[in-house]
């Protein structure tokens, strides 16, 4: 036996070492927990043991959490309750251990890992930046089920505990000590000897008392809980914060608040039982399953290269950006912030200065929010240089073109650019919808050319569509995929075609919103319904944000590429002709923007071709907007625009803000039922337009009753 844990006793200290075999991290799988239980029982009988220390053999990891795959397999509340209770009982064994117990944490202690540490009498942590203590369960749509919602507030007070639990965030060693979560934060370099010292200290009664007294003095604000309505007050503040952040789409934080508040009114034992019940309410629900699936897709994408094994990415240390617009500036910031030298080229210095302006604004914001030091931001800014000719482009390994979205101009710029680069430099175009193959047609070396579509604003949107043209070489793809990862973005390889992936699905959705206006729906209703669905912005607010001119241009490209089903709503043409209606950047679009406030623009009504006004139900508004996307998504999958539905879904989450709790369009369609979707599309194709005729792919799926994810 003894696969996961080993116990060795030296000078009275029992070192219970967690070392998950064959893994880089420790996780609390069912079998690991079972073994832990036995080891605790064994330690109890060891005669020469005075203090029990739980420690990890992994670098930078204490315990990363429970086994998420096991959580994913829980299907019923009963099963969930049983699993939580069983874990709790093992940690109870630790809590009632006759000798002092210490969790020695030099690395991440997350989820179940922190709950394990909370069941110990003491916690010693390190100043290693990788030492992070947190309960991220809500990110997976569940709550801590091994005592986290009970022991944490009892240890550090409800005011400190609640934010940690409902945000899923973590704290480092020093912060943990300040909160009273850790009893001591010691140097990571001398961790073992410092832990031994701590053990000696808690060997005596008075030593233990001293440590506990210090802990108590660190815990702040427990007086609030003592007030008659204190708990209710704290809970309602927390609830408001959650609503502000999630618009109430995620139940887990609310359940967590209830578990904490109700638990504090009970004994620890009853509180734990209560927690297990609440855990079981959430585990196995569609939202939790979606969030867990999303987590696994993200894990899978970490290893994603977009090319067959063996193709090597070339390192990038020098880069160029052509075109100093908003995107160019954002991309320059991104590259420079990761230590890659950037040379910007534009036709004049006033344009170049705008790129510096947008980059420096992002840097300033990061410094203001303490995400970056002043030194780092200064060094980053110094990494950007500029020119109006191509001087300095000879050293670039990658050049990203971000000039205006016009095929002729792009081809001219690219042809010019190519003569100034070394032969093996990769040229990437940040086009959002133009054909990569056509752009490459004038190049001497089309194999080193690729589309690299960053989403706006670059500093906030994680998705990068990598678009190979017909002749793009695998090395080129590998290089830009690796570059996107270095830039902490999520790259997904998609096929060259109008709108690539995300815009091909998203623009019809915006266009559909205009069709809806023609059919009598109101601007505010359309956006409210979609925000209610979970989109961060409704389609019309989104159009204003992106710029109506930009959106219109892509819509026209899609219409040219796909014909009638993507026909631009006639009112959109009329709105586009008004120069002052460009969206947020011109102050007016579907909305009138004043600072961050906006109200529907009454002038839009005069530009809409109204048909026979008829009441249009909320259900119809929602289905027309969502199903038009699903219909197109099914075509994208069938045509192989993207490798698999999972990647399409994550692209929509990362590139279009599709709500993560729904996982994505394909998953949503699966959960609603493909045949129901096809039925609704059939109806809509008769009432709203032929663009709703279900795709062959969807019809085929109903015939063989398959789903996207099966």
């Amino acid at each position: 036996m003894a696969h996961y844990f080993s116990l060795s006793i030296e000078h009275g200290i029992g070192w219970l070492t967690f070392d998950c075999p064959g893994e880089k991290i420790n996780k609390l799988s069912a079998s690991a927990l079972a073994e832990l239980s036995e080891m605790i029982a064994q330690a109890k009988t060891a005669s020469d043991l005075q203090v029990l220390v739980i420690v990890s053999a992994k670098t930078d990891i204490f315990v990363a959490g429970a086994d998420i795959a096991e959580i994913q397999n829980i299907d019923t509340p009963e099963d969930g309750y049983a699993k939580a209770r069983s874990g709790q009982s093992i940690f109870d064994q630790l809590a009632s251990f006759p000798m002092p117990t210490i969790a020695a944490i030099d690395g991440a202690a997350l989820g179940g890992g922190l709950e394990l540490a909370l069941a110990c009498l003491f916690r010693v942590v390190s100043d290693n930046p990788k030492t992070q203590l947190g309960l991220p369960e809500v990110n997976l749509g569940i709550i801590p089920g091994f005592g986290g919602t009970q022991r944490l507030p009892r240890l550090i007070g409800v005011q400190a505990a609640l934010p940690m639990i409902i945000s899923g965030g973590s704290v480092d060693g020093n912060k943990a000590e300040k909160l009273g979560l850790a009893d001591r934060c010691v140097s990571s370099a001398f961790f073992r000897s410092e832990v031994v010292r701590f053990c000696k200290e808690c060997g005596s009664d008075e030593g233990r008392q001293r440590i506990l007294a210090r802990r108590q003095s660190n815990v702040k604000g427990q007086w609030v809980e003592a007030l008659p309505f204190g708990l209710a007050m704290v809970a309602s503040t927390a609830r408001r914060a959650v609503i502000l952040k999630t618009h109430g789409h995620y139940p887990a934080p609310f359940v967590a608040i209830r578990s904490v508040v109700e638990g504090l009114k009970l004994s620890l034992a009853d509180g734990l039982d209560q927690e297990a019940h609440r855990f079981s309410e959430l585990v196995g629900t569609p939202i939790s399953k979606n969030l867990i699936a999303l987590f696994f897709i993200q894990e899978e994408l970490k290893k994603y290269t977009g090319v067959p094994a063996g193709v090597l990415a070339r390192p990038v240390r020098h880069s160029g950006v052509i075109g100093a617009g908003l995107m160019g500036g954002g991309i320059a910031w991104l590259l420079s912030s990761k230590g890659i030298a950037v040379r910007i080229k534009d036709v004049n210095w006033n344009a170049i200065n705008l790129a510096y302006q947008s980059a420096s604004k992002i840097y300033a914001k990061l410094v203001e929010n303490r995400k970056m030091t002043r030194c780092e931001s200064q060094l980053g800014l110094n990494g950007i240089s500029a020119t109006t000719d191509y001087s300095g482009f000879g050293t670039a390994e990658v050049v990203i073109e971000a000039v205006v979205e016009n095929m002729e101009i792009k081809k001219k710029v690219l042809g010019e650019l190519e003569t100034h680069l070394r032969e093996d430099a990769v040229i990437a175009s940040n086009t959002s919808s133009l054909s990569v193959t056509e752009m490459a047609s004038g190049l001497t070396h089309p194999e080193r050319f690729v589309g690299m579509h960053f989403f706006s604003p670059v500093n906030r949107m994680p998705l990068v569509e990598i678009v190979p043209g017909e002749k793009t070489s695998p090395e080129t793809i590998a290089t830009v995929v690796q570059l996107a990862k270095t830039l902490k973005k999520t790259p997904i390889v998609v096929k060259n075609g109008p709108g690539f992936l995300v815009n091909r699905i998203l623009i019809p959705y915006v266009n559909e919103a205009v069709w809806l206006l023609e059919d009598g729906a109101e601007i505010a209703d359309i956006d409210r319904i979609m925000e209610g669905f979970g989109m961060p912005l409704g389609p019309l607010a989104l159009a204003d944000e992106v710029g109506l001119d930009v959106g219109y241009k892509v819509a026209k490209i899609l219409e040219a590429g796909f014909g009638e089903r993507m026909a631009v709503a006639p009112s959109f043409d009329r709105i586009h002709q008004k120069d002052d209606l460009k969206g947020k950047k011109s102050g007016k679009g579907f909305y009138i923007h004043e600072g961050i406030a906006k109200k529907p623009n009454p002038d839009i009504a005069t530009l809409i071709y109204r048909g026979d006004d008829h009441a249009i139900s909320s259900e119809d508004i929602l289905d027309r907007l969502v199903l038009i996307m699903i219909n197109e998504a099914s075509r994208c999958i069938a045509e192989g625009v993207v490798e698999k539905p999972e990647y399409l879904d994550i692209a929509m989450v990362m590139g279009a803000g599709f709500p993560p709790f729904r996982l994505g369009l394909c998953r949503y369609a699966d959960q609603r039922g493909i045949s129901e979707i096809v039925g609704r599309l059939d109806t809509l194709s008769k009432t709203a337009g032929t663009r709703f005729v279900p795709s062959n792919a969807l019809v085929q799926m109903t015939k063989v009753s398959s789903t996207f994810y099966s």
Binding site: W349, N350, Y356, S360, L379, S385, S391, T395
Partner: protein
């Protein structure tokens, strides 16, 4: 020097009057911009460099050894060392001549040399009384002690020490630089009228150069941090509407009663940076480069601190002797215009047999300088004088002008506070 040193290319920022457009910009940022730019323009990568050397006079306290800060900000690899040189107003020139020595000694192949100065950011300092006050306050432990110290405070404690004034005052002779120029004006009989005429010419030549786009060849436009509200394309010193009447109206600045030196006929305090890449001529050939020009020889000389403005003739005599060349071999001259009076004094000294025999130990005059070959694109009176940078600016400007004219050889020289002069001879072919 046994082999010429190739200057591959040179670049500078626009020069801007201190306290103006570049007031928020640090000397290390300016240096980093030109260092990165010269790397980009020459195509010499940071990996190829063996050393970064920068001249800088005011040495900001937040960037000790500013050359190292600049190297890293410019993306030069961390393994490439860097050091800062200080020869006062010749610091920029020193960065090039020091590099030449290092290369000829076989210690380095390729060096990035530069100069940078932000005279806007020379600090005001607390005076000694205030510093003492802070020390006492720091030592006080009890409240009573603290109050006692606080009561010793007087308004006079707040009178600042001006770093710029201290820096420009010679600690040996006690004269501020302007007064050393007054001394030369008297000893050489250079009238106020002559100085103002000289200054006016400097402005008009500089303006002509700007209009013809000549300085654009050596300037990298500078987007201005921290907010990047503007880009500076050209030097802001030269005044288009400068008239002799306006110059004549100015009060003497240093000797208010009987002086001749005004802010109009002296150079302004200035911010700016410049950089070059240097290597042996043979190395440049081996790399297939087409250098901007070559350093043929250099010389530094010391003289009386109170006559520091005559530095150029002493240093020029030295470099001419070392290279075996004569004034008549030069196609162009750049003499830095710290003060109009000081440049004019040098011109007289160059053609004076008496000066040559008394001061230079020569039987004949060093040689008259043809005014048509001197500072043909204006000088520091119009362009400004960022003290750590000017020495390099002179080298770059001379070489670019020689190329434009299809000429071969020039002499660039400057006076150095503290009583020194520096001079180099540069060639294009």
């Amino acid at each position: 020097m046994n082999e010429r040193i190739a200057i591959i290319d040179g670049i500078r920022t626009p020069f801007c009057k201190a306290g103006g457009q570049l007031r928020e910009v640090s000397a290390d940022h300016l240096g980093a911009v030109v260092a990165r730019e010269i790397i980009a323009r020459t195509g010499i990568s940071g990996e190829q460099l063996d050393e970064v050397i920068f001249g800088n006079v005011s040495q900001p306290s937040n960037a000790a050894n500013i050359a190292r800060v600049i190297g890293l900000r410019a993306g030069v690899p961390q393994r490439v060392p860097a050091y800062t040189v200080h020869r006062n107003c010749a610091s920029g020139m020193e960065s090039v001549t020091t590099a030449a020595n290092k290369i000829l000694a076989g210690e380095a192949d390729i060096i990035l040399s530069g100069g940078t100065e932000s005279m806007s950011n020379i600090p005001l300092m607390f005076n000694k009384k205030m510093v003492r006050f802070f020390e006492e306050l720091g030592k006080a432990k009890t409240t009573v002690q603290k109050v006692k110290v606080l009561l010793t405070f007087r308004l006079g404690h707040l009178a600042p020490v001006l770093g710029i004034v201290e820096g420009l005052t010679d600690p040996i002779c006690g004269l501020i630089m302007g007064l050393t120029a007054e001394k030369l004006s008297r000893e050489f009989g250079i009238s106020r009228q002559e100085q103002d005429q000289y200054a006016l010419a400097s402005h008009s030549k500089a303006l002509a150069a700007i209009q013809a786009g000549r300085f654009a060849e050596e300037i990298v436009p500078l987007p201005v941090p921290p907010q990047f509200k503007s880009v500076i394309i050209q030097d802001d010193g030269p005044r288009a509407n400068q008239t002799i009447e306006a110059l004549q109206k100015l009060k003497p600045y240093f000797d208010r009663k009987n002086g001749t030196v005004t802010v109009g006929n002296a150079c302004p305090l200035t911010d700016g940076a410049a950089a070059v890449i240097v290597m042996k001529e043979s190395k440049a050939k081996a790399l297939g480069l087409n250098p901007l020009g070559y350093l043929r020889g250099y010389g530094y000389a010391g003289l009386e601190p109170e006559r520091m403005g005559l530095g150029p003739i002493y240093a020029s005599a030295k470099v001419l002797e070392r290279t075996g060349l004569a004034v008549s071999d030069m196609d162009l001259f750049e003499i830095n215009e710290a003060f109009s009076a000081q440049v004019l004094a040098n011109l007289r000294a160059f053609e004076s047999t008496e000066f040559a025999s008394q001061k230079l130990g020569r039987s004949t005059a060093l040689g008259a300088i043809d005014p048509d070959k001197l500072n043909v694109n204006g000088g520091a009176v119009a362009l400004g004088h960022p003290v750590g940078t000017s020495g390099i600016r002179l080298i770059i400007t001379t070489l670019k002008e020689l190329r434009r004219r299809g000429k071969q050889r020039g002499l660039a020289s400057l006076c150095v506070g503290g009583g020194q002069g520096g001079a180099v001879i540069v060639e294009v072919e």
